[in-house]
Assembly symmetry: C2
Homo-oligomer: 330 residues x 2
């Protein structure tokens, strides 16, 4: 969870010279931004730097970053949905695949690279509303007012994300993570009917890649029962869902990823250590926990606090589980 | 849940002539806005029209509505906290008490009036951040970086809300509702330490009023265990927490209020009826459910859909529970 590295001075120096979109579309720069935290901290995995909207731009959706994505023509009719072309990754987003190859050739300590895409429902939120908002009212009312159109759009997006993540795996990504940033807008019934149905479709198409599949469900405390039988290896959760309760609902077949509150990085060192310990205690002694923040790191975060956090996690997990348990991902 | 009536043409006509702050500070107008939905729909209760920040303005906090509240000088130091005066309702917010008296004298069908205030933690979010934001990062990091100052501020706010709601009851409010709009920003541990501790303080001071106490916990799926032993009569929940699960956690001693998704009002009539029925089914056949939306009604909502919804709820509950069960609050 990196929130595009804005907490790192080396990222801000780069960003002062290049706009956000160019960063995401230039393999050398996207690889550099992916690797920056790995050089600074002893992290156990890298995650691809990219934007959730990048594959949609590849499919011809016109948008600007202001700084959140603003879609020129929001998509709300079946005609617009049917006009969305299929994604052909090598043709539409070759720079992402090249970024992955560059990262794999340069990643410190040989740590694995996690590929990245947005959940179909989260993408629908941006496409239907046209711009980020607190409530995403237009997207949520779209589900109720035009449920068939919503399913039609979600099917398109689900298939595009299968192609996109499959191509990332083929290019070298060693795990694949689907981010459902706006899962928490939905009650369980609507989550199952719309968001989860689409995710099942995406994930079913990715099992053949052979790499671990991660589904991050933001604000998903009420949705854990719904994802318990989803065919993925890891469920990522935000800081509001205690990991112990999550693991009890998910059962032994799934690992969990998370979930320190990004705000905890503002605590004094001893309190930060206690907060990290509390997450590890909640996750329990068994393998199958990837230590992470529960949401994106804030731009105001002190990199020294991140360094301390990574140290605490390694200190605890190298003693407690001798390599089989928690790691730390950026 | 009304979101200040913006879905009603009669509210918008009034608002075109008077700014929001004047509406909240002029008893005749605030009473009029409170009563507008009661005249249009067969609702079973009224809720006071006011703003969450109104008592803080009374305590001398300078702010503007743009349209969200913007505090001129965010409060982050102990000196600022200690400088906050105690609230004296008759002196600082007499217009709120006068509004309540006017409503009580004019409310259609003699339905009860619910008084209203913001939860101490929700108020802290605005005071510390200075303006609304998606993450309320400054408020959340304040809890970790300056926990003692946070508790100090929360104590002040808790006591002010006791005074404020107590005065509302004395002026005629027949139930009191505390809105924790930003509960969902906190993990259970921080919710308990900060938000809930302050709410216990507020509510303990209100038991003597003899009126039912309601605590609305937005985005609180992971917080229901925490509030199960809070000494209130009703827990209000947003649309993401299935009422059946909520009632199982809360036990028989508490009623629940909620929780139709405001987006469901955009569904075609038959689907809206199914959605309302699903909420009633989840709440179960016993008394102790106040039917409501799970969050504020959206300005784009068709008043006709609201009328249909009120009709469905009355149709179902007059048959099923002969007056002992669900009602509909605005």
């Amino acid at each position: 969870m990196r929130q595009a590295g804005r907490y790192l001075p080396e990222y801000r120096r780069l960003r002062a010279k290049v706009d956000f979109e160019a960063l995401t579309r230039t393999p050398e720069l996207a690889a550099e931004v992916t690797l920056q935290p790995l050089r600074r901290f002893e992290l156990d995995a890298a995650i691809l730097f990219s934007d959730i909207m990048t594959p949609l731009q590849g499919m011809g959706v016109e948008l600007e970053f202001e700084p959140g994505p603003v879609v020129r023509e929001p998509i709300r009719t079946d005609a617009q949905i049917d006009a969305l072309p299929e994604l052909v990754a090598e043709r539409d987003v070759p720079f992402v695949l090249q970024t992955i190859r560059l990262i794999r050739g340069n990643v410190p300590r040989g740590v694995p690279l996690i590929g990245f895409a947005g959940g179909p429902f989260t993408l629908l939120c941006y496409l239907v509303c046209g711009r980020p908002s607190k409530e995403f009212a237009a997207a949520r009312s779209f589900l109720y007012a035009q449920p068939r159109s919503a399913e039609r759009l979600l099917d398109r997006l689900a298939d595009a994300m299968t192609v996109y993540l499959g191509a990332q795996a083929a290019a070298g990504a060693q795990a694949l993570m689907l981010f459902e940033s706006w899962a928490g807008l939905l009650a369980p019934r609507e989550f199952q009917r719309f968001a989860l149905r689409a995710v099942r479709r995406t994930m079913a198409g990715l099992r053949g890649t052979g790499v671990p599949l991660i589904y991050y469900v933001n604000q998903g405390s009420a949705l854990m029962e719904s994802v318990a039988d989803l065919d993925v290896d890891v469920i990522g959760v935000d800081w509001r869902s205690p990991l112990g309760a999550v693991r009890r609902v998910l059962g032994a077949g799934k690992a969990v990823q998370g979930n320190l509150d990004p705000a905890a990085l503002f605590a004094p060192p001893e309190e930060l250590r206690r907060q990290a310990a509390a997450v590890l205690d909640e996750a329990g002694p068994t393998p199958g926990h990837i230590f992470n923040l529960g949401h994106g790191i804030w731009p105001e975060t002190d990199p020294e606090a991140v360094a301390r956090l990574v140290g605490y996690v390694h200190e605890r997990t190298s003693v407690a589980s001798a390599g089989g348990g928690s790691g730390a991902a950026p």
